[in-house]
């Protein structure tokens, strides 16, 4: 019998919904900034719950650190890339208006992508930090 049947059962039940909730927050930031951060935290929290219930090894299979590390960098690059594209399109850095022909659409696209970048980085970094902590003290 498993050492912590209650936690395992609850984690197994909840984790997919937590992850989806994170993605929901990611894409429903009311088209305003900030959503990416919370989303990243929630998504990471889901995986951390999984790790707490099933152990670090299994969590590392689901979310391999080798994948997380480049992801954490890619998130930032997505942010910067959006800024640079805006710049190349004739606006200023992060001048979202210049991302699309229609300024409003450009704004939406810009915020969506930038927040996505933030979310990816936050989630990846948080999980990595958690792995590092637990991995070290074990």
């Amino acid at each position: 019998m498993s050492a912590r049947p209650v936690l395992e059962a609850i984690a197994k039940l909840l984790v997919p919904y937590i992850l989806l909730f994170g993605l929901y927050v990611q894409f429903h930031g009311d088209y305003g900034p900030g959503g990416g951060f919370q989303a990243g935290v929630i998504f990471a929290a889901g995986l951390i719950l999984y790790a707490l219930a099933f152990g670090l090894d299994k969590a590392m299979v689901v979310a391999p650190p080798a994948l997380l590390r480049p992801l954490s960098a890619l998130g930032v690059l997505l942010y910067g890339g959006v800024g640079l594209v805006a710049m190349l399109n004739g606006g200023s850095f992060l001048g979202y208006d210049h991302l699309a022909a229609d300024p409003i659409a450009g704004q939406h696209l810009g915020v969506l992508l930038v927040e996505f970048g933030v979310g990816i980085t936050v989630a990846a970094v948080m999980i990595l930090i958690f792995f590092a902590f637990v991995g070290r003290s074990e």
Partner: protein, 163 residues
């Protein structure tokens, strides 16, 4: 596989309920993508843990909840009385190992959580011998010994249940 399809469907439903933006193509699409991603991750997890939810569980669950809800209300009333009127309703903390008839880890988990969810009793340990329970009073432990909850949970687990 079927299980994953069910999961995917429920996840997408969850998305729709959270979102409320059922007219935005973009958000519906993003929901689809998100669901797909999470289902993929759930599939990866599935291969790692031995735990599985029996198919009939979800069908039988609402009935059990209704019963449990009533139990919870009664238990709340009991504990609140003991908080406010300790003289009339004194506590008598008791701890005991109770047998558990569930065969699966999941079943025992549900049983333990049900015990804990009802105020006045907390499941502390679960293993092959059963459940170690701490009760606020000897009466609640005695109630549990009656095994009504144990039977219901076991029935939930496999559809039959003892006695």
């Amino acid at each position: 596989m079927i299980h994953l399809l069910w999961l995917g469907a429920s996840l997408y439903g969850f998305w729709l309920l959270l979102s409320g933006h059922w007219d935005s193509g973009l958000l519906l699409a993003l929901g689809g993508a998100s669901t797909a991603l999470v289902t993929l991750m759930a599939w990866r997890m599935q291969r790692l843990d031995a735990l599985s939810f029996p198919a009939g569980l979800w069908r039988r669950l609402p009935g059990y909840w209704a019963w449990l809800f009533v139990e919870i209300i009664k238990a709340n009333q009991d504990v609140v009385r003991r908080i406010w009127q300790p003289a009339r309703f004194p506590i008598s903390p008791t701890m005991a190992w109770l047998p558990a008839s569930q065969k699966t880890d999941l079943g025992r988990a549900i049983y333990a959580n049900s015990i804990t969810l009802t105020p006045g009793t907390v499941a502390i340990e679960i293993d092959e011998r059963g459940v170690l329970v701490h009760g606020l009073s000897a009466e609640v432990i005695a109630d549990l010994r009656g095994a009504a909850m144990d039977r219901r949970v076991t029935r939930l687990e496999d559809g039959e249940g003892g006695a």
